[in-house]
Amino acid sequence: MQPPAEFVHWMFATGFLLLGLFLLAQAIVGDEVWRRRAWRAYLWPGLAFLLGILMWPVMVFFTNSTVHMLAHGSWAQVMMLAGGAELGLVRGKLHSRYWRLTMPLAFLVSGAAFLIHEQNTWYFARSAFLHHLIGWTMVVCAIFPLAAVFRPRSTLFRTGFALTFVVLGVMLYCDRDVAPIFGHLSSQAGTPHR
């Protein structure tokens, strides 16, 4: 009954897509309008926290090496930290805006984990290509949440932050267990099953 890994990627892709849509909507209308309904203020931080929690079973059930376990565990921790910090800020339990630095930290840790735990080259298979691409995307796009800490009203940074999650979702949707990338597939990668 355990799903193949690609299905897990697609389910998380849906979570990231929703996260991106919520953040994009908040960036478009601004905090005042977005937080007119209390539940909406908790929406994306809660979803980020939930995705972090759901990463734990992924760590437990989809561990095919120590480095995979460490990568999934680090994603779970930083997603919960960033989501939890934002929840604390929204609730008023936390006050310093510097708690928002947990989000660029999550981006950097996640990106590094993607890059470090992918042992194969870019064109080994589609999953290897996507791991490299997602890793570098997260490292580079950490600039958006980082800049938003110091310029919280900047539409550019907030939109960039939101669209990063949409792009991550698209990349995760492209993931397959074994599939070629631009016609390249290493003979060691296995046989594409679909």
């Binding site: 009954m1 799903p3 193949p4 299905f7 697609w10 389910m11 892709a13 849906t14 897509l17 929703l18 849509l21 919520f22 994009l24 909507a25 478009i28 209308v29 005042e32 309008v33 977005w34 007119r36 309904r37 909406r40 929406l43 949707y173 679909r194």
Partner: protein
């Protein structure tokens, strides 16, 4: 007086553009899922369910994208647009 009128009109126009963007996000997401389904119809296993396992039938990426669009369009967007309108008319 005319400067004040012009700035009020500009503010209303900005709110209208924002409302349009919020309204369009859900349908645009749904459309992306539908386009994807046409480009890769073999991903819609419900069209040929015979011999498919649970996960292949339950998790179909283009349908997940459409679902995300539906969630946003029906659960999030109406309230946000309503609140934008309230900001325009209310105190």
């Amino acid at each position: 007086m005319s400067t004040q009128l012009a700035s009020e009109r500009a503010a209303v126009r900005r709110r209208t553009v924002r409302a349009m963007l919020i309204w369009a996000l859900g349908p645009a997401t749904m459309l992306a899922g539908v386009v994807w389904a046409f480009l890769q119809p073999y991903r819609i296993t419900l069209l040929h369910p015979h011999g498919q396992g649970f996960w292949w039938l339950a998790i179909e990426p283009p349908l997940l994208v459409v679902l995300a669009g539906i969630v946003f369009a029906f659960l999030i967007a109406p309230g946000v647009i309503e609140d934008l309108d309230a900001e325009e008319h209310g105190p």
